[in-house]
Protein backbone atom coordinates (compact mmCIF):
# COMPACT_ATOMS: atom_id res chain seq x y z
CA UNK A 1 0.00 0.00 0.00
CA UNK A 2 1.67 3.19 -1.15
CA UNK A 3 2.46 5.95 1.28
CA UNK A 4 0.45 8.39 -0.80
CA UNK A 5 -2.62 6.21 -0.59
CA UNK A 6 -2.25 5.84 3.14
CA UNK A 7 -1.73 9.55 3.66
CA UNK A 8 -4.69 10.47 1.49
CA UNK A 9 -6.91 7.99 3.28
CA UNK A 10 -5.76 9.26 6.62
CA UNK A 11 -6.62 12.83 5.71
CA UNK A 12 -10.03 11.87 4.36
CA UNK A 13 -10.80 9.79 7.42
CA UNK A 14 -9.64 12.53 9.77
CA UNK A 15 -11.91 15.09 8.16
CA UNK A 16 -14.71 12.54 8.09
CA UNK A 17 -14.34 11.71 11.76
CA UNK A 18 -14.27 15.39 12.66
CA UNK A 19 -17.52 16.04 10.80
CA UNK A 20 -19.29 12.95 12.14
CA UNK A 21 -18.24 13.46 15.74
CA UNK A 22 -18.57 17.24 15.95
CA UNK A 23 -22.17 17.39 17.23
CA UNK A 24 -21.63 14.45 19.55
CA UNK A 25 -18.61 16.08 21.16
CA UNK A 26 -20.32 19.47 21.50
CA UNK A 27 -23.34 17.70 22.98
CA UNK A 28 -21.22 15.85 25.49
CA UNK A 29 -19.13 18.87 26.45
CA UNK A 30 -22.15 21.05 27.08
CA UNK A 31 -23.81 18.39 29.18
CA UNK A 32 -21.31 19.47 31.83
CA UNK A 33 -22.04 23.17 31.30
CA UNK A 34 -22.65 25.08 34.50
CA UNK A 35 -25.46 27.37 33.43
CA UNK A 36 -29.09 27.27 32.34
CA UNK A 37 -28.68 27.84 28.65
CA UNK A 38 -26.69 25.11 26.89
CA UNK A 39 -25.03 27.70 24.71
CA UNK A 40 -21.42 28.81 24.36
CA UNK A 41 -19.28 30.01 26.09
CA UNK A 42 -18.66 26.99 28.24
CA UNK A 43 -18.60 27.38 32.03
CA UNK A 44 -16.74 25.01 34.39
CA UNK A 45 -17.79 21.35 34.51
CA UNK A 46 -20.62 20.17 36.71
CA UNK A 47 -22.43 16.87 37.09
CA UNK A 48 -25.69 18.37 38.25
CA UNK A 49 -27.54 17.83 34.99
CA UNK A 50 -26.74 14.14 35.05
CA UNK A 51 -27.92 14.00 38.63
CA UNK A 52 -31.12 15.79 37.65
CA UNK A 53 -31.81 13.48 34.74
CA UNK A 54 -31.01 10.27 36.59
CA UNK A 55 -33.14 11.22 39.57
CA UNK A 56 -36.12 12.35 37.51
CA UNK A 57 -38.86 9.73 37.85
CA UNK A 58 -40.37 10.81 34.54
CA UNK A 59 -37.16 9.87 32.75
CA UNK A 60 -37.16 6.50 34.45
CA UNK A 61 -40.77 5.92 33.44
CA UNK A 62 -39.99 6.99 29.89
CA UNK A 63 -37.05 4.60 29.73
CA UNK A 64 -39.28 1.79 30.95
CA UNK A 65 -41.90 2.65 28.34
CA UNK A 66 -39.28 2.75 25.61
CA UNK A 67 -38.00 -0.67 26.61
CA UNK A 68 -41.46 -2.21 26.89
CA UNK A 69 -42.48 -0.76 23.57
CA UNK A 70 -39.24 -1.80 21.92
CA UNK A 71 -39.13 -5.35 23.23
CA UNK A 72 -42.81 -5.97 22.66
CA UNK A 73 -43.06 -4.61 19.14
CA UNK A 74 -39.74 -6.08 18.05
CA UNK A 75 -40.61 -9.51 19.38
CA UNK A 76 -43.96 -9.47 17.65
CA UNK A 77 -42.53 -8.11 14.41
CA UNK A 78 -39.73 -10.68 14.37
CA UNK A 79 -42.07 -13.59 15.01
CA UNK A 80 -44.56 -12.46 12.35
CA UNK A 81 -41.78 -11.67 9.91
CA UNK A 82 -40.08 -15.00 10.39
CA UNK A 83 -43.30 -16.95 9.95
CA UNK A 84 -44.14 -14.97 6.84
CA UNK A 85 -40.63 -15.43 5.47
CA UNK A 86 -40.87 -19.13 6.15
CA UNK A 87 -44.26 -19.35 4.49
CA UNK A 88 -43.24 -17.45 1.39
CA UNK A 89 -39.67 -18.67 1.15
CA UNK A 90 -40.12 -22.31 1.90
CA UNK A 91 -43.35 -22.96 0.07
CA UNK A 92 -44.48 -22.11 -3.40
CA UNK A 93 -47.46 -19.89 -2.94
CA UNK A 94 -49.68 -18.56 -5.67
CA UNK A 95 -49.29 -14.78 -5.75
CA UNK A 96 -46.19 -15.12 -3.59
CA UNK A 97 -44.40 -12.25 -5.26
CA UNK A 98 -47.40 -9.99 -4.73
CA UNK A 99 -47.56 -10.92 -1.06
CA UNK A 100 -43.86 -10.27 -0.69
CA UNK A 101 -44.32 -6.85 -2.23
CA UNK A 102 -47.25 -6.14 0.05
CA UNK A 103 -45.24 -6.96 3.15
CA UNK A 104 -42.34 -4.82 2.00
CA UNK A 105 -44.57 -1.90 1.03
CA UNK A 106 -44.62 0.01 4.37
CA UNK A 107 -40.87 0.43 4.10
CA UNK A 108 -41.40 3.00 1.36
CA UNK A 109 -44.00 5.01 3.21
CA UNK A 110 -43.00 7.86 5.48
CA UNK A 111 -43.53 7.07 9.17
CA UNK A 112 -45.44 10.32 9.49
CA UNK A 113 -48.00 9.04 7.03
CA UNK A 114 -48.32 5.66 8.75
CA UNK A 115 -48.70 7.44 12.07
CA UNK A 116 -51.43 9.75 10.81
CA UNK A 117 -53.25 6.87 9.21
CA UNK A 118 -53.30 4.94 12.47
CA UNK A 119 -54.33 8.07 14.40
CA UNK A 120 -57.33 8.51 12.13
CA UNK A 121 -58.18 4.82 12.43
CA UNK A 122 -58.03 4.85 16.22
CA UNK A 123 -59.99 8.06 16.38
CA UNK A 124 -62.75 6.75 14.15
CA UNK A 125 -62.91 3.48 16.06
CA UNK A 126 -62.87 5.36 19.39
CA UNK A 127 -59.94 3.27 20.56
CA UNK A 128 -57.56 4.57 23.24
CA UNK A 129 -54.20 5.94 22.26
CA UNK A 130 -51.14 4.80 24.15
CA UNK A 131 -48.31 2.31 24.06
CA UNK A 132 -50.55 -0.23 22.35
CA UNK A 133 -51.28 2.06 19.43
CA UNK A 134 -47.62 3.01 19.20
CA UNK A 135 -46.70 -0.66 19.42
CA UNK A 136 -48.85 -1.46 16.43
CA UNK A 137 -47.21 1.36 14.51
CA UNK A 138 -43.76 0.09 15.41
CA UNK A 139 -44.64 -3.42 14.28
CA UNK A 140 -45.74 -2.02 10.92
CA UNK A 141 -42.52 -0.04 10.72
CA UNK A 142 -40.20 -2.95 11.47
CA UNK A 143 -42.08 -5.87 9.92
CA UNK A 144 -40.86 -5.27 6.35
CA UNK A 145 -37.24 -5.02 7.42
CA UNK A 146 -37.38 -8.10 9.62
CA UNK A 147 -39.12 -9.93 6.81
CA UNK A 148 -36.40 -9.03 4.34
CA UNK A 149 -33.71 -10.16 6.75
CA UNK A 150 -35.43 -13.43 7.62
CA UNK A 151 -36.04 -14.13 3.96
CA UNK A 152 -32.31 -14.24 3.41
CA UNK A 153 -32.09 -17.07 5.91
CA UNK A 154 -34.56 -19.33 4.13
CA UNK A 155 -32.26 -20.87 1.59
CA UNK A 156 -32.58 -23.92 -0.67
CA UNK A 157 -29.88 -25.61 1.36
CA UNK A 158 -32.00 -25.23 4.43
CA UNK A 159 -35.02 -26.60 2.62
CA UNK A 160 -33.07 -29.70 1.73
CA UNK A 161 -31.95 -30.12 5.29
CA UNK A 162 -35.56 -29.89 6.37
CA UNK A 163 -36.59 -32.56 3.95
CA UNK A 164 -33.72 -34.72 5.09
CA UNK A 165 -34.67 -34.47 8.71
CA UNK A 166 -38.29 -35.11 7.81
CA UNK A 167 -37.23 -38.26 6.05
CA UNK A 168 -35.36 -39.25 9.14
CA UNK A 169 -38.63 -39.22 11.03
CA UNK A 170 -38.75 -35.83 12.75
CA UNK A 171 -42.15 -34.22 13.25
CA UNK A 172 -43.00 -30.93 11.53
CA UNK A 173 -42.72 -29.05 14.78
CA UNK A 174 -39.34 -30.52 15.58
CA UNK A 175 -38.17 -29.71 12.11
CA UNK A 176 -39.25 -26.14 12.56
CA UNK A 177 -37.64 -25.87 15.93
CA UNK A 178 -34.37 -27.53 15.39
CA UNK A 179 -33.60 -27.13 11.75
CA UNK A 180 -35.30 -24.03 10.45
CA UNK A 181 -34.97 -21.77 13.43
CA UNK A 182 -31.70 -23.29 14.43
CA UNK A 183 -30.19 -22.40 11.06
CA UNK A 184 -31.89 -19.04 10.74
CA UNK A 185 -30.93 -17.99 14.23
CA UNK A 186 -28.40 -15.26 13.29
CA UNK A 187 -30.88 -13.64 10.96
CA UNK A 188 -33.61 -13.72 13.58
CA UNK A 189 -31.37 -12.11 16.16
CA UNK A 190 -30.23 -9.49 13.67
CA UNK A 191 -33.83 -8.71 12.77
CA UNK A 192 -34.84 -8.42 16.41
CA UNK A 193 -31.99 -6.09 17.29
CA UNK A 194 -32.54 -3.92 14.27
CA UNK A 195 -36.23 -3.67 15.08
CA UNK A 196 -35.44 -2.75 18.66
CA UNK A 197 -33.00 -0.06 17.58
CA UNK A 198 -35.54 1.46 15.24
CA UNK A 199 -38.29 1.34 17.83
CA UNK A 200 -36.11 2.70 20.60
CA UNK A 201 -35.27 5.82 18.62
CA UNK A 202 -38.62 6.33 16.92
CA UNK A 203 -40.30 9.66 17.54
CA UNK A 204 -43.01 10.80 15.19
CA UNK A 205 -45.38 7.84 15.28
CA UNK A 206 -45.05 7.48 19.04
CA UNK A 207 -45.72 11.20 19.42
CA UNK A 208 -48.89 11.03 17.39
CA UNK A 209 -50.22 7.85 18.97
CA UNK A 210 -49.57 8.26 22.70
CA UNK A 211 -50.84 10.77 25.18
CA UNK A 212 -48.95 10.43 28.42
CA UNK A 213 -47.04 7.16 28.11
CA UNK A 214 -44.01 8.95 26.88
CA UNK A 215 -40.89 7.31 25.59
CA UNK A 216 -37.36 8.64 25.74
CA UNK A 217 -37.39 10.39 22.34
CA UNK A 218 -40.62 12.17 23.28
CA UNK A 219 -39.15 13.14 26.64
CA UNK A 220 -36.17 14.63 24.87
CA UNK A 221 -38.46 16.49 22.45
CA UNK A 222 -40.52 17.86 25.36
CA UNK A 223 -37.39 18.97 27.14
CA UNK A 224 -36.39 20.84 24.00
CA UNK A 225 -39.78 22.52 23.90
CA UNK A 226 -40.15 23.38 27.55
CA UNK A 227 -36.85 24.77 28.68
CA UNK A 228 -33.36 25.71 27.72
CA UNK A 229 -31.39 23.19 29.68
CA UNK A 230 -28.18 21.17 29.55
CA UNK A 231 -30.20 18.37 31.09
CA UNK A 232 -31.28 17.61 27.52
CA UNK A 233 -27.63 17.15 26.60
CA UNK A 234 -27.08 14.90 29.59
CA UNK A 235 -30.04 12.73 28.63
CA UNK A 236 -28.77 12.58 25.05
CA UNK A 237 -25.37 11.39 26.19
CA UNK A 238 -26.93 8.77 28.44
CA UNK A 239 -29.14 7.52 25.61
CA UNK A 240 -26.10 7.34 23.36
CA UNK A 241 -24.25 5.33 25.99
CA UNK A 242 -27.13 2.93 26.37
CA UNK A 243 -27.45 2.43 22.61
CA UNK A 244 -23.73 1.75 22.43
CA UNK A 245 -24.02 -0.93 25.07
CA UNK A 246 -26.84 -2.53 23.12
CA UNK A 247 -24.80 -2.42 19.95
CA UNK A 248 -21.80 -4.03 21.59
CA UNK A 249 -24.01 -6.70 23.12
CA UNK A 250 -25.44 -7.39 19.69
CA UNK A 251 -22.02 -7.71 18.11
CA UNK A 252 -20.94 -10.15 20.79
CA UNK A 253 -24.04 -12.32 20.62
CA UNK A 254 -24.29 -12.26 16.85
CA UNK A 255 -20.71 -12.99 16.06
CA UNK A 256 -20.25 -15.53 18.80
CA UNK A 257 -23.32 -17.41 17.60
CA UNK A 258 -22.28 -17.32 13.94
CA UNK A 259 -18.76 -18.41 14.82
CA UNK A 260 -20.09 -21.31 16.82
CA UNK A 261 -22.42 -22.28 14.08
CA UNK A 262 -19.85 -22.32 11.35
CA UNK A 263 -17.23 -23.85 13.62
CA UNK A 264 -15.96 -27.37 13.58
Amino acid sequence: MSVLKKALSAVVLLVGFAFIYLPVIVLAVFSFHDGRAAVPPFEGPTLRWYAEVLSDPKVGQAALNSIILGLGSSALATVLAFLAAYGLGRYRVAGGEVLKGAILLPMNISYLVIGIGLLILFRNAQLPLGLGAAGLAHVIMTLPLCFAICLTAITPKQVRLEMASRDLGASQFMVLRRVTIGLAWPAIIAAFFLAFTLSWDEFIMTYLLTRFDVTIPITIWSMLRTGLNPATNALGVLVFGFSLILFVMFEIIYFRKSARRTGP
Binding site: L13, P23, L112, V113, L121
Partner: protein
Protein backbone atom coordinates in the same frame (compact mmCIF):
# COMPACT_ATOMS: atom_id res chain seq x y z
CA UNK B 1 -49.47 -33.27 -6.50
CA UNK B 2 -51.30 -33.58 -3.22
CA UNK B 3 -48.14 -32.51 -1.45
CA UNK B 4 -47.90 -29.44 -3.63
CA UNK B 5 -51.39 -28.23 -2.81
CA UNK B 6 -51.00 -28.80 0.92
CA UNK B 7 -47.70 -27.00 0.53
CA UNK B 8 -49.51 -23.98 -0.78
CA UNK B 9 -51.97 -23.98 2.06
CA UNK B 10 -49.20 -24.34 4.58
CA UNK B 11 -47.49 -21.39 2.98
CA UNK B 12 -50.59 -19.23 3.34
CA UNK B 13 -50.96 -20.44 6.88
CA UNK B 14 -47.59 -19.08 7.86
CA UNK B 15 -48.05 -15.76 6.11
CA UNK B 16 -51.51 -15.02 7.48
CA UNK B 17 -50.63 -13.55 10.90
CA UNK B 18 -48.28 -10.99 9.35
CA UNK B 19 -50.79 -10.14 6.65
CA UNK B 20 -53.52 -9.70 9.21
CA UNK B 21 -51.47 -7.22 11.18
CA UNK B 22 -50.55 -5.39 7.99
CA UNK B 23 -54.13 -5.12 6.87
CA UNK B 24 -55.29 -3.73 10.22
CA UNK B 25 -52.30 -1.54 10.84
CA UNK B 26 -51.40 -0.39 7.38
CA UNK B 27 -53.84 -1.00 4.56
CA UNK B 28 -56.97 -0.05 6.45
CA UNK B 29 -55.48 3.22 7.80
CA UNK B 30 -54.17 4.08 4.36
CA UNK B 31 -57.61 3.38 2.95
CA UNK B 32 -59.26 5.61 5.52
CA UNK B 33 -56.80 8.35 4.68
CA UNK B 34 -57.51 8.01 1.01
CA UNK B 35 -61.20 8.25 1.75
CA UNK B 36 -60.65 11.29 3.96
CA UNK B 37 -58.58 13.06 1.34
CA UNK B 38 -61.27 12.53 -1.24
CA UNK B 39 -64.07 13.89 0.88
CA UNK B 40 -65.58 17.08 -0.53
CA UNK B 41 -65.14 20.30 1.40
CA UNK B 42 -68.86 20.96 1.56
CA UNK B 43 -70.46 17.68 2.57
CA UNK B 44 -73.15 16.45 0.30
CA UNK B 45 -71.79 18.12 -2.80
CA UNK B 46 -69.75 16.43 -5.45
CA UNK B 47 -66.12 17.37 -4.86
CA UNK B 48 -63.89 14.34 -4.80
CA UNK B 49 -60.76 16.22 -5.71
CA UNK B 50 -61.54 19.39 -3.80
CA UNK B 51 -58.68 18.94 -1.41
CA UNK B 52 -56.23 18.19 -4.17
CA UNK B 53 -57.40 21.29 -6.01
CA UNK B 54 -56.91 23.31 -2.83
CA UNK B 55 -53.43 21.90 -2.49
CA UNK B 56 -52.52 22.92 -6.00
CA UNK B 57 -53.99 26.34 -5.40
CA UNK B 58 -52.06 27.22 -2.28
CA UNK B 59 -48.53 28.43 -3.00
CA UNK B 60 -47.51 27.72 0.58
CA UNK B 61 -48.33 24.04 0.20
CA UNK B 62 -46.81 23.69 -3.25
CA UNK B 63 -43.77 25.46 -1.86
CA UNK B 64 -43.54 22.87 0.88
CA UNK B 65 -43.52 20.08 -1.69
CA UNK B 66 -40.83 21.83 -3.70
CA UNK B 67 -38.72 22.40 -0.55
CA UNK B 68 -38.96 18.72 0.31
CA UNK B 69 -37.81 17.61 -3.12
CA UNK B 70 -35.09 20.21 -3.36
CA UNK B 71 -33.62 19.50 0.06
CA UNK B 72 -33.87 15.73 -0.39
CA UNK B 73 -32.07 15.96 -3.71
CA UNK B 74 -29.23 18.01 -2.30
CA UNK B 75 -28.97 15.78 0.72
CA UNK B 76 -28.84 12.60 -1.38
CA UNK B 77 -26.05 13.96 -3.53
CA UNK B 78 -24.10 15.40 -0.61
CA UNK B 79 -24.43 12.26 1.52
CA UNK B 80 -23.02 10.14 -1.26
CA UNK B 81 -20.31 12.73 -1.91
CA UNK B 82 -19.26 12.40 1.71
CA UNK B 83 -19.88 8.67 2.11
CA UNK B 84 -17.98 7.52 -0.95
CA UNK B 85 -14.58 9.01 -0.09
CA UNK B 86 -14.93 7.77 3.46
CA UNK B 87 -15.82 4.25 2.35
CA UNK B 88 -13.07 4.25 -0.24
CA UNK B 89 -10.55 5.53 2.31
CA UNK B 90 -11.37 2.61 4.58
CA UNK B 91 -11.38 -0.05 1.88
CA UNK B 92 -8.23 1.10 0.14
CA UNK B 93 -6.33 2.88 2.86
CA UNK B 94 -6.83 0.84 5.97
CA UNK B 95 -5.31 -2.61 6.54
CA UNK B 96 -7.96 -5.26 6.17
CA UNK B 97 -7.91 -6.46 9.74
CA UNK B 98 -8.68 -2.97 11.04
CA UNK B 99 -11.35 -2.06 8.55
CA UNK B 100 -14.39 -3.23 10.53
CA UNK B 101 -13.12 -1.43 13.60
CA UNK B 102 -12.59 1.85 11.79
CA UNK B 103 -15.97 1.57 10.09
CA UNK B 104 -17.70 0.86 13.38
CA UNK B 105 -16.00 3.80 15.07
CA UNK B 106 -16.97 6.06 12.20
CA UNK B 107 -20.65 5.27 12.33
CA UNK B 108 -20.98 5.08 16.10
CA UNK B 109 -22.78 8.45 16.30
CA UNK B 110 -25.53 6.77 14.30
CA UNK B 111 -26.68 5.55 17.69
CA UNK B 112 -27.25 8.94 19.28
CA UNK B 113 -30.92 9.72 19.46
CA UNK B 114 -32.14 11.26 16.22
CA UNK B 115 -33.84 14.11 18.05
CA UNK B 116 -30.77 14.87 20.13
CA UNK B 117 -28.44 14.83 17.18
CA UNK B 118 -30.44 17.46 15.33
CA UNK B 119 -30.51 19.61 18.44
CA UNK B 120 -26.75 19.24 18.85
CA UNK B 121 -26.22 20.79 15.41
CA UNK B 122 -28.01 23.91 16.66
CA UNK B 123 -25.24 24.30 19.19
CA UNK B 124 -22.51 23.61 16.67
CA UNK B 125 -23.79 26.08 14.08
CA UNK B 126 -24.64 28.85 16.55
CA UNK B 127 -23.03 32.27 16.04
CA UNK B 128 -20.87 31.63 19.08
CA UNK B 129 -20.59 27.93 18.34
CA UNK B 130 -17.64 25.80 17.32
CA UNK B 131 -17.85 26.29 13.57
CA UNK B 132 -18.03 30.06 13.71
CA UNK B 133 -15.36 30.32 16.40
CA UNK B 134 -13.03 28.18 14.30
CA UNK B 135 -13.63 30.14 11.12
CA UNK B 136 -13.13 33.43 12.93
CA UNK B 137 -9.96 32.40 14.71
CA UNK B 138 -8.45 31.37 11.40
CA UNK B 139 -9.48 34.71 9.98
CA UNK B 140 -11.71 33.44 7.19
CA UNK B 141 -14.62 35.54 8.42
CA UNK B 142 -14.97 38.60 10.64
CA UNK B 143 -18.66 38.34 11.47
CA UNK B 144 -20.22 35.05 12.51
CA UNK B 145 -22.14 33.30 9.76
CA UNK B 146 -25.87 32.89 10.27
CA UNK B 147 -26.05 29.17 9.72
CA UNK B 148 -28.86 28.11 11.99
CA UNK B 149 -32.54 28.03 11.10
CA UNK B 150 -32.01 27.75 7.41
CA UNK B 151 -32.14 25.27 4.57
CA UNK B 152 -28.38 24.91 5.00
CA UNK B 153 -28.72 23.88 8.62
CA UNK B 154 -31.42 21.36 7.77
CA UNK B 155 -29.30 19.97 4.97
CA UNK B 156 -26.25 19.66 7.20
CA UNK B 157 -28.28 17.86 9.83
CA UNK B 158 -29.57 15.44 7.22
CA UNK B 159 -26.22 14.89 5.55
CA UNK B 160 -24.66 14.12 8.90
CA UNK B 161 -27.11 11.28 9.37
CA UNK B 162 -27.26 9.94 5.84
CA UNK B 163 -23.55 10.09 5.15
CA UNK B 164 -23.04 7.51 7.87
CA UNK B 165 -25.63 5.33 6.19
CA UNK B 166 -24.01 5.91 2.81
CA UNK B 167 -20.61 5.00 4.19
CA UNK B 168 -21.80 1.60 5.38
CA UNK B 169 -23.62 0.81 2.17
CA UNK B 170 -20.86 1.91 -0.17
CA UNK B 171 -18.29 0.18 2.01
CA UNK B 172 -19.97 -3.19 1.54
CA UNK B 173 -20.31 -2.44 -2.15
CA UNK B 174 -16.64 -1.63 -2.49
CA UNK B 175 -15.62 -4.69 -0.51
CA UNK B 176 -17.25 -6.88 -3.08
CA UNK B 177 -15.06 -5.61 -5.84
CA UNK B 178 -12.64 -8.32 -6.75
CA UNK B 179 -9.16 -7.12 -5.79
CA UNK B 180 -7.76 -9.23 -8.61
CA UNK B 181 -9.40 -6.89 -11.13
CA UNK B 182 -7.33 -4.04 -9.76
CA UNK B 183 -4.19 -6.16 -9.76
CA UNK B 184 -4.84 -7.14 -13.33
CA UNK B 185 -5.35 -3.52 -14.32
CA UNK B 186 -2.07 -2.68 -12.66
CA UNK B 187 -0.34 -5.47 -14.56
CA UNK B 188 -1.79 -4.17 -17.79
CA UNK B 189 -0.16 -0.82 -17.11
CA UNK B 190 -2.99 1.29 -15.77
CA UNK B 191 -2.06 3.84 -13.12
CA UNK B 192 -3.89 3.94 -9.78
CA UNK B 193 -6.08 6.83 -10.79
CA UNK B 194 -7.07 5.27 -14.06
CA UNK B 195 -7.84 1.93 -12.41
CA UNK B 196 -9.92 3.76 -9.88
CA UNK B 197 -11.97 5.66 -12.39
CA UNK B 198 -12.36 2.83 -14.86
CA UNK B 199 -12.96 -0.05 -12.49
CA UNK B 200 -13.86 1.02 -8.96
CA UNK B 201 -16.31 3.77 -9.79
CA UNK B 202 -18.49 1.79 -12.20
CA UNK B 203 -18.49 -1.29 -9.99
CA UNK B 204 -19.46 0.70 -6.94
CA UNK B 205 -22.25 2.47 -8.81
CA UNK B 206 -24.98 0.09 -7.56
CA UNK B 207 -24.15 0.70 -3.92
CA UNK B 208 -23.85 4.42 -4.52
CA UNK B 209 -27.25 4.36 -6.14
CA UNK B 210 -28.78 2.47 -3.22
CA UNK B 211 -27.31 4.93 -0.72
CA UNK B 212 -28.57 7.94 -2.66
CA UNK B 213 -31.96 6.37 -3.10
CA UNK B 214 -32.38 5.59 0.58
CA UNK B 215 -31.29 9.09 1.58
CA UNK B 216 -33.74 10.60 -0.91
CA UNK B 217 -36.72 8.55 0.18
CA UNK B 218 -36.11 8.85 3.91
CA UNK B 219 -35.33 12.53 3.69
CA UNK B 220 -38.53 13.52 1.92
CA UNK B 221 -40.65 12.08 4.70
CA UNK B 222 -38.76 13.41 7.71
CA UNK B 223 -40.31 15.89 10.13
CA UNK B 224 -37.85 16.18 13.01
CA UNK B 225 -34.69 17.61 11.45
CA UNK B 226 -36.42 20.38 9.47
CA UNK B 227 -38.52 21.25 12.50
CA UNK B 228 -35.53 21.64 14.79
CA UNK B 229 -32.97 23.10 12.41
CA UNK B 230 -35.07 24.78 9.74
CA UNK B 231 -36.64 27.51 11.86
CA UNK B 232 -39.68 27.51 9.61
CA UNK B 233 -37.76 29.44 6.96
CA UNK B 234 -38.50 26.88 4.30
CA UNK B 235 -41.14 24.51 5.60
CA UNK B 236 -41.19 21.05 4.06
CA UNK B 237 -44.13 18.82 3.30
CA UNK B 238 -44.05 16.82 6.56
CA UNK B 239 -44.17 20.10 8.50
CA UNK B 240 -47.09 21.25 6.38
CA UNK B 241 -48.87 17.98 7.14
CA UNK B 242 -48.36 18.37 10.88
CA UNK B 243 -49.60 21.96 10.71
CA UNK B 244 -52.75 20.89 8.90
CA UNK B 245 -53.30 18.22 11.49
CA UNK B 246 -52.48 20.21 14.61
CA UNK B 247 -53.01 23.87 13.92
CA UNK B 248 -55.79 23.84 11.38
CA UNK B 249 -57.45 20.63 12.50
CA UNK B 250 -57.96 19.90 8.84
CA UNK B 251 -57.69 16.13 8.75
CA UNK B 252 -58.80 15.71 5.11
CA UNK B 253 -56.15 18.19 4.01
CA UNK B 254 -53.50 16.46 6.13
CA UNK B 255 -54.52 13.17 4.53
CA UNK B 256 -54.32 14.75 1.08
CA UNK B 257 -50.83 16.06 1.70
CA UNK B 258 -49.83 12.69 3.13
CA UNK B 259 -50.97 11.11 -0.10
CA UNK B 260 -49.04 13.57 -2.20
CA UNK B 261 -45.98 12.74 -0.14
CA UNK B 262 -46.54 9.02 -0.57
CA UNK B 263 -47.14 9.34 -4.29
CA UNK B 264 -43.93 11.27 -4.78
CA UNK B 265 -41.94 8.66 -2.89
CA UNK B 266 -43.58 5.76 -4.69
CA UNK B 267 -42.90 7.51 -7.96
CA UNK B 268 -39.23 7.78 -7.09
CA UNK B 269 -39.22 4.12 -6.10
CA UNK B 270 -40.92 2.87 -9.23
CA UNK B 271 -38.64 4.93 -11.42
CA UNK B 272 -35.39 4.10 -9.68
CA UNK B 273 -35.80 0.40 -9.04
CA UNK B 274 -36.15 -0.81 -12.65
CA UNK B 275 -33.34 1.51 -13.74
CA UNK B 276 -31.16 0.09 -10.99
CA UNK B 277 -32.01 -3.49 -11.93
CA UNK B 278 -31.27 -2.84 -15.58
CA UNK B 279 -27.91 -1.26 -14.78
CA UNK B 280 -26.92 -4.08 -12.45
CA UNK B 281 -27.80 -6.66 -15.06
CA UNK B 282 -25.57 -5.03 -17.60
Amino acid sequence: MGKASTDRFTGYFYVTPALLVLVIGFFVPVGIMAFASLSPIKPGEWGMFDNYARFLGQPALLGALWNSLFIAGIVALASVAVGFPLAAAIVFGVPERHQRLVLTLLILPFWTSYVVRSYAWLLVLAPNGVVNQALMSVGLITEPLRLNFSVAATAIGFVHFFSMLATIIIYSGLRQIDKRLLLAAGDLGAGSVRAFVRIVLPLSAPSIAVAAFLALVMCIGDYITPQILGGNTAPVLPQAIMNQLNRSNDVPMAATLAFVLTTVVLFVVTVCVPVYRARVKS
